[in-house]
Amino acid sequence: MVEGLLHPLNIFIVGLGGGFLIPLFYRLGKSWTAAAFIVALAAMTLISGYALFVLLNGAAPTEILTGGAKPPYAINLRMGLAESFFAFSVNLVALFGVAYVARERYGTMLLYLLLVMGIQGMVMTRDLFNLFVFLEIVSIATYGLLGLRDAHAALSATFKFLMATVLASTFFLIGTLLLYATTGILNIDELIAKRASITGPIGFAALIFLLACLLLELKPFPANGWGLDVYETARSDVAAMISGGVSAGVFFALLKLLPLFEDQLELIAALGAMTFVFSNLIGLQQTNAQRLLGYSSIGQMGLLTIAAPLLYRLNADNAMFLVVGGLFINHLFAKVGLFWLAGYVGKERLQDWAVLARRPGAILTFGILIVAISGLPPFPGFWAKWQLVMTLAVGDLYVWIAIVLVGSLLEAAYMFRWFGLALNSPAEADGVSHGQADLFPIFGMALLLVVSGYVAGKLAGLAALWAYMPLAAGLVLYMLARLPSRVQYLIVLVLVTVGGGRLILELSGISFLFAMLLLAGGLVLSIACLARTDRRSGFYPLLAVMLLSLPALPRATTSLEFIFVWELITLSSYFLILQRTEAASHALQYLLFSLAAAFFLLCAFAVLHAQTGSVSLSALRVAGPDSAPVFVLLAIGLLIKAGAIGVHVWLPGAYAESDDDVSALLSAVISKVSIFGLLVGTYVAIRSDVSLNLALVVGWIGMLTTLAGAMLAARQDDLKRMLAYSSMSQLGYIVAAIALMSHLGWVTALYLAANHLLVKGILFLVAAAIILRTGKRSIVELGGLAGVMPVTFTAAAIAIVAMSGLPPLAGFGGKWLLLSAMMEKGWYGPALMTLLATFVGFIYMARFIQAIFLGPRKAAHDALAEAPISLLIPQTLLIAGIFLMSFFPKLLITPLSNAIDPQFASTLVWQGMSLEMIYGYWNPVPVMALAVIASTILFGLFWLLQRSGWWSAIANAEIGGTRSSLYKGLTTVFTVLTPPWAGALWGGLTEATTSSAERIRILYTGNGQTYNLYILYYFIALYAAAGGVRHLWAGVD
């Protein structure tokens, strides 16, 4: 009985019967109509859901026969796994969409119901002509629903849409007929079975006509202006159904017919690629929300059109479900949610979306949808793209990988730009146009994305729950967002300590050390956020996610886990930067470079996967000598993330413009993530000579970065920018140290990394304190703060000494190690650069201390208080760390050395030079004692001078004297030496991208006839590209 009631055929009985009866229910009353409508939709959802459930449990696909006869005489339909999946997800979305439709006139409900049924018909039918009928049902329902918007532009757009789709469906009809003329078959299964008999000019033309229609219905570039116009002007829920539902039906039809097009698979993928890249490119230039979503929709369909034929050609049946299914539901849920959100907000221009800024719930949902649509974790699109890239790599289809990733990057660019705009300037908040109730379906979509993301993750192979720990912590914090911020921070602390502790306990070696470093550093620096007492909506959940994903990165054992956590770190830090709305453009830059970096890593892992057949990170250690491409890709990605010279343009903005406590975290802790990546990734270089040579290149890049960073820092007047460039400079040392590819180099790298974490943490907190107390960021406006903020000054001084590489503090040890390691490898050039950079470093560091803390104090700053305790505590802890490292270097060096030992002992790069030997030259304790005595004396002198009032005279003399002109001269040199080529390059690239987008946009003239002409040419191009010209000549003969 249950079986009978839930038979898939009943979808159509319910749909059609319900549709026909709705006018009758209308006579009974409006609420009856709505009730019947909802019951019918719910029934369809239930039936398809049950089918999916049964099929997932291993049942055979259900054949639906009609007319009391078997195919090919009668029309048959099929409910298989893929069908039920598509049907169920579309139904689910439609059911949520009821919220917007059930209040309309009954005609709307009727069309909506039949539309949903028609989509499922397209999905399930196995008869070509029946497919045409369902296509028309869907089209006509769409035409009717589009009439809901009365605006003039909407009517015009609908007419263009009509013209185009009628032409396309005529193609389908002609194709079907010609296919019947050649084969005498309409049943799809039989057609596929007899694929070989579809030959000759008629058979060929038939296939091309069919293909052209299906592609055109997916709105391919450039024959898609009509689709965009409708996306732009239609009522948002209707646009949502077109984007999610109708496209789903058409795409499934294409998927179903793919075996027929086996000679055109590459062509289909190429057309999809064109659509994917170009629509995302033009999307960059959009200012209208719905049109932007239109471009994105079309792009997503393009992506699906790339994926499906390529995977089909590769016979990757296992990957097919995850990739196509994942990309599809990701697009469906996210895009439908975004369209609904557009309806809820009711603002056309992207700038006006700032009205959302004060609605945390809506913003969270918006964020989830944006992240999902960009194909980032933890949503299905991410897993699907990962699987897609891996599968394509196995098939050696690297160009396609590049296309997919470039398009994804473009899409992320405009999506996140939009998100930034929504957070921006909530000055005039004249409210959204709809009530809160309209938000619930959108929440539903976000929830579905989360659930489906988890399932897809399992399918992709990420079964480990620990990877979700950061997100779970974020969720807990989000639910507790009403608590006072200090309580929230306490919870963060507890969660991160407990969770991070659990993550760390399972680690050993370098991973353990790094996880420890990242976790401890993150925790200590996060204390600084207590200095802020205002309400920071979303801050603590994000903080929890970030702090927990830091130690999770070393925990990753597969490339999938690695990328997953990597993206979590990227996203959480992006959103943290975005906490300061003024930083939106810098945050976007940060995100895009980080994503590009992640894509390079993804490519590297894909190549590795293709070479070794493994997704385990340990494959990096055993990769063979031909792994040079892996190394190059990894190096590029990680250097981007580390802010190496040339790709450093994101760094100053992100570090300097974010909130002060976030800056500290970014610069001190998150930057180490790329260092860890380099340590993990450079294993592959060990086994091939090419890669070792490439490592030298990386080393040079590192040193150039150091030098350039130092020079740029010396030129800055902005406190935080100076520190940001200083970070860049310091990271350069570390990169160079890793690139040494020797035991000593790596010990140095880790040592430097730890040192930099401590030092830069202190300095950014010092900057935070100064900005907090003075409100100034330019060091020119500061001065003499040592008197009013002595503790801060002391901390800054210690940090500067430790960073500059002066004895006695840890920096000196680091430099010593680095120079030794370079000499050991014979890298004399880089060693020279190290010295030079150290000298330049002295200049900006001296300037930092001198200009801020020494010199005359501005009158306004006389009454300043010391930094708040919440900033001083982390500084003190970090100073303790510095002293620990300085006095007992072996405490750190020994475990470092031991952790690294096994890697190099087997690789023969280790040349037997004992660390003790090198390190033995320098015994820190006496040097330290001397230094302490000296500095005590100096400090005493300084104190006496200040007391006696002579100080200001000396300081004034200093400012006006030689030091200043020396500085000026040097900065002139630095300016010459660091021409803004990188900025010009990236600016030029951006400019070129946007201007080409602007130029391509001219295709869309807005004229319906022109669009139809494009469609004709699209067909002609398809025909010619598929090799139809030979048939033409055959015809002439």
Binding site: G68, I75, N130, Y1017
Partner: protein, 233 residues
């Protein structure tokens, strides 16, 4: 000019493709196997003399149901599009008085003569669909032409939209019900053998096909009439 030229080039290209089709087409000397099967099966299994109707109302009845849905949706769509924010009907005749211009005597008289004829013809077409050329769609269209004539001859005439709507809905629902009956009584959804096949070639034969034809005819007639009515200014 460029535009013209590009249109010409596009059409010439299409012409070439079409020419290749014509050149490649060979006239069938005998029906295709599928067609042959239908020609054998329809009289034998369904008891319908008109093979096309047999196909339409049983083997491909799912398509037919889809078409009915299409027409039904067109009525609703046109209603949505034209019924939007425009002034209600009563008001409009004042705004545009010429819309209600009476038709001439010739048209009215012609209508009086023709409408009965058209109706009878429609009924004939519908009810003989299983025997000769004809069927529900064709008959429904003829009914609608009669309605169109009435609308032309008597511009003031208001068809009872509510009645048409209800009839249409009921006919559609009955069609689906007949399909379900096929599922229960006969071999599957939309199987026409829920009624006895009767004597081949007789008026009451071919199972439920005449009934389905009638339902279709009524439904299509109503739908087209509603669409026509919606198009009236």
């Amino acid at each position: 000019m460029i535009r013209r030229l590009s249109i010409v080039i596009a059409l010439v290209s299409f012409g070439l493709v079409f020419a290749s089709l014509v050149a490649g087409y060979a006239e069938r000397q005998s029906p295709r196997p599928l067609a042959e099967g239908y020609i054998r099966l329809v009289p034998q299994e369904l008891g319908a003399a008109n093979v096309v109707t047999g196909i339409l109302l049983t083997y491909r009845a799912f398509d037919t149901l889809g078409e009915v849905a299409v027409l039904f949706m067109v009525a609703a769509s046109v209603g949505l599009v034209l019924g939007g924010e425009r002034p209600p009907r009563g008001v409009r005749s004042e705004v545009r008085p010429d819309a209600a211009r009476p038709s001439s005597e010739i048209v009215q008289t012609g209508t009086q003569i023709l409408v009965p004829l058209i109706s009878i013809f429609a009924a004939y077409i519908i009810m003989n669909g299983h025997l000769t050329a004809g069927g529900g769609f064709q008959g429904g269209a003829v009914i609608a032409s009669g309605v169109l004539l009435v609308l032309l001859a008597y511009p003031q005439y208001q068809p009872d939209l509510e009645f048409l709507g209800i009839t249409e809905s009921v006919a559609g629902a009955l069609f689906v019900l007949a399909g379900i009956a096929g599922l229960i009584v006969a071999d599957g959804f939309l199987d026409n053998r829920i009624l006895p096949l009767g004597q081949f070639g007789a008026f009451f034969s071919a199972g439920a096909i005449p009934v389905l034809s009638a339902l279709l005819g009524i439904k299509v007639g109503c739908e087209l009439s509603v669409i026509l009515e919606r198009f009236r200014p």
